[in-house]
Symmetry: C3
Subunit: 473 residues, 3 copies
């Protein structure tokens, strides 16, 4: 007989400062914002989830297989992606159970990571799990969660309400007809606000395979002739307007760098044509993308979509894994990034344009105090984005706040962004952020750098007024 499993019980004071006096204030601050509605202005939840409102299929498909935060560390620990059900379409019960078992058996590799923190919160607070996962209780936990998933209270819409989500932004292809968003908006039984986000990366990178086909699709979606450069621009403008009409408030961009060097229209048109013909050089393709990022800023000035940048990721680092299991499988690896010079052409033109807003995210911490905070501390258009991806974790979030606040204060930041495709982790992530911000504010009060009334006001602003302003919610 195996030993009894350890208990799982997330502590009410978790992540708060350890000094008793500071913790007491942090606790009061946290209590004042804990239950405020969740604004999730950037993420990757599929909106059809809420349209269909079907029961989630099984614990692994819900919590393990699609979450690259989980699968990558299991992969590093010797579990194959195949065992985790990655890239295999719908899982059989046997496959799902096996994938779930891998997670439970390797629970200890997540010690000290935010995945552990999020999962613990989800298991305990959403599913009522009271034992720490291990190899002995894996099947029992699977059964318990599977049972719950069959209940009506665990359907997507019920969870959406229970999570207290006020706004949820999805990330969408410019050609998407946004039928899911329309269905939700038209459904009187659904009271949440689910808005699309315009994500045109693939249409701006002529060097990527499939660009010409994408541009053709774009032409169809917008009813424009995208074989010409002006038509291509009009099509992008048209699709952006379509997104705005369906509630979008932002456009997201994730390229290797954020250079924004202008081309004259004739050169842009020439590259557009050669790229469609498949004869553009790599340098021309890069120049075109950099020019188009600037064009996106121009369009943002016109249609009001907040521009958000998520640069500096080398996607699909391990080609054999890409070929076997597809993209978003845990090996997008950060590289150094530069903002000051790269964004200068854009900011020279639009940095003080009325209504223009630009949110800068980074996975390269070294730019926070050096570039992002100084830019957000001068340009009325620039906001420092919340820590992203490898940095969306307690210690990194603390470092980021410390790195940004002294130059840009609190009001020039974006508020928390969960950026997740794991729907059930949304509340745990926002809750983590609230705890950390309240802890930091309590420390500022304890060091007599801020008065208590200001800490309470700031704690609330950080989950309410600040993200509303940054993302125009």
């Amino acid at each position: 007989m195996s030993p009894p499993s350890a208990p799982l019980r997330p502590h009410p004071d978790r992540l708060l400062p350890t000094d008793p006096a500071v913790r007491a204030l942090a606790r009061r601050l946290y209590a004042s914002v804990r239950a405020l509605p969740i604004l999730s202005p950037h993420g990757h939840v599929d909106p059809r989830l809420l349209v269909d409102d079907a029961a989630f299929p099984d614990p692994a498909t819900l919590l393990v297989t699609p979450d690259h935060y989980i699968t990558r560390l299991l992969h590093a620990s010797g579990v194959t992606l195949a065992e985790l059900g990655v890239g295999q379409g719908p899982l059989t019960e046997r496959q799902a159970r096996a994938a779930w078992r891998r997670l439970c058996e390797h629970w200890q590799v997540f010690r000290g990571t935010p995945v552990r923190y999020w999962l613990e919160s989800e298991l305990a607070e959403i599913f009522g799990v009271t034992e720490r996962p291990d190899s002995a209780n894996a099947d029992r936990l699977y059964d318990r969660i599977a049972e719950r998933l069959a209940e009506g209270a665990f359907r997507p819409r019920a969870l959406f309400d229970r999570f207290g989500i006020e706004v949820l932004a999805t990330t969408d292809d410019p050609c998407d007809d946004l039928a899911a968003h329309r269905a939700l908006a038209a459904d009187p039984a659904f009271r949440g606000r689910v808005v699309p986000t315009f994500r045109p990366d693939r249409y701006l990178e002529p060097a990527e395979a499939g660009w010409a086909a994408a541009v053709a699709r774009l032409g169809e979606a917008a009813d424009e002739d995208t074989t010409t450069y002006p038509g291509y621009l009009r099509a992008l403008e048209s699709r952006r307007r379509y997104f705005v009409a369906h509630g979008a408030t932002s456009a997201d961009h994730s390229h290797p760098d954020v250079r924004t060097d202008p081309l004259d229209p004739a050169t842009a048109a020439r590259i557009h044509a050669t790229a469609l013909a498949g004869t553009a050089t790599a340098a021309e393709c890069t120049a075109f993308r950099r020019h188009m990022l600037l064009e996106m800023a121009r369009m943002s000035c016109e249609d009001g979509l907040v521009m958000t940048l998520h640069p500096g990721i080398r996607r699909n680092h391990h080609t054999p894994t890409l070929h076997r299991f597809g993209p978003d499988t845990g090996h997008d690896i950060p590289v150094r990034v530069e903002f000051t010079d790269a964004l200068r052409p854009l900011l020279e033109r639009y940095g003080t344009a009325p209504g223009f807003q630009l949110i800068l995210f980074t996975v390269d911490e070294s730019v926070l105090s050096r570039e992002i905070a100084p830019l957000a501390g001068f340009y009325p258009s620039v906001f420092a984005g919340a820590p992203w991806w490898f940095l969306d974790a307690p210690d990194a979030i603390r470092r980021a706040r410390r790195a940004v606040t002294e130059t840009a204060g609190f009001t020039r930041t974006s508020g928390f962004v969960d950026d997740t495709r794991a729907f059930c982790s949304v509340p745990a992530r926002h809750d983590m952020s609230r705890r950390l911000d309240c802890g930091l504010l309590a420390e500022l009060v304890a060091e007599h750098r801020l008065d208590e009334d200001e800490a309470f006001a700031t704690a609330r602003d950080l989950v309410d007024a600040i993200p509303r302003k940054a993302f125009k919610l």
Copy 2:
């Protein structure tokens, strides 16, 4: 009726560690250095202020308009630089009052920033303000400060004494006749020591507009023929000697990078000539500047001026603002910087030269542990400069000490440098530094990494022996 304003009362323990036992020691350490004289070996206060000793015109002109730390975050918050009186010459009472009101109305955007910390100290400790600025009390505070400014006790010399400043270094153009410094030195009624700093940037950058005119002016000032390269060198040497004769102890340099690649004299002479003729290429201009930085080191070996480097800033990032409001208006943005390879030619030649001293400042934190501390930990000439600009703030200062000390200890650092043009912020800044250093030392004692007697000795050295040595005061 508006609600009563919040009180403003800087806490005696502000910035000290929150752990009660550690704070108790930090408090004792701080008490031992709190009242020591201020050595300000690098800054931007105008020496004529002390020569004229006239009353400061008004609160905005004193505290708001010229301080780019304040105007930039207000600008980012939607206040125009015009509203703040930037770039408009002397302000009318109406303009000054309006600018002041903008600051008070936006007080909350400074939460968590050092500007808030400095201003709070200044308002409370210098002007006796007891209310936190807000839109309701803005005019009342303006009147109160304006009243004080009219009093003799608030004239520059009285404040200089009250602040306990022993040495104040200014930053000066090589062609400056240093009349203000001479006047102060000759005035028996003024007992402070105000020394100039040689800042030759514009004379070393042939790519900058106005270089030829500057070189001509330099020739006049030095009575040398600067149309020849040897004459140009002699003129620089001569002006440096002039500065030394007027009390200067350091020469400051702020270029985009710190490369110091030598040119042979014939090449240097050729570029000097073509640059004067306006036909030098951008690459030649850069090569010339890098060569001249090495020449500056040679001259420092000869005349003893400490060489200080402040690289890595992209000046006037937003050209429209530069054109409308002038330089130093809040949009100088840092870029990545490199020291190890860039300084190698200089250090190969002069790194162990007797008497040569080189202080390295950075706005790129990533070089602190990687490059600056290792260089300062080997070369007897190299000192790690205090955190500068966007980093002259409590958390950044703590990070910098932690990043530098483990490799270079305390004795290879520069001591605190306020680098400010805001005269009234000088004591608040030095006080902040003393509190932070005492906090760190108390933490080292609490972790049993340092004995208490050593902490007391180090606290004193950091405000006395260490800056005296680094800057040859």
Copy 3:
């Protein structure tokens, strides 16, 4: 009469967290791992020390002269390397005493550095010194230590046992016959495990002076014709197998960068030939080295040696010092480094190869959260190395754990590596690491991010299972 010297008494709680509740747990965690055997899988102790087991000559030769951590900060403080006995062969008693005196006189420059911490531990715990070194007690301390060194209990083997070292890895030239390792393995009176490490840098860098001679030596050692590229490869493979047969578990590489771009065999062979002929260009030499680093990975897949990378150091920064005093004299200075793109060719090929292990060390902290942790968090072959060199100090170690753990957890790290040539500092360094890890774990428990049983298990794994796995001990 000089004042009495201060006492020297390392505190039992040193480096543990200062919050009393957190410290209490940290103390219990530390007590559970304090006495576990030392695994030292990478370092620079000379194995002949243990073969000869002769008394150490004198305190300076043991503790000062060969330790570039000590000599560099003394050098920066104005002591010449000559005074410290560097590069002068065996020291006379007079020279040794003078060098020792310099250390004691400058004890205060080490405040806040790990050197101070290590030396304090060594002096107190190994030699029973009870006074803090100063100029008054320098000779007395010298005599006391010298006396001890003459005792049998202070011979290398006795210390090896007393230190509780289970495994000690040395760093060795590929042509070394490993006679010392064989002698130790064959000696029934010596029960420790001393294993060699394959360090082929000089054989892979055709641009370095002496490469051709080294390649010829390699041919002799391996009995292969290294004038041909295939023979050169075979010779390297053969010497690696020889090292494996003598207990080696890893191969170490330290080049300016870690690019691993493949050449086709014909190109590699051509550069090999031209480099031997002395006609290869600098670019060809670099290309060859980058190709060979990839070849080293291939060989690791075949012979199982763990590959460890220590890049990003500009060696012998100050050429005059190199010429006068030799290498490893304190002026190897870090530069920026890049892993994500540089290692991609290697990881595309071997990143998921069974048994392949790659440990990444850095002196550029900015890559920890950005590149190393993400790579170690996906690739089963990649481990994040312990903080190295300028970063092997309490605050830097804490920063590194915080930067790596949230992405890669604890299990994807290397465990502590002392990397020292200072034999007597081995226990102090490992003890420091254990204290810091226990402190961090206690903090995670205090913030309710980890349960207490997990903290105890992790504390033990970090000094036992984790390094055993990473280095295949």
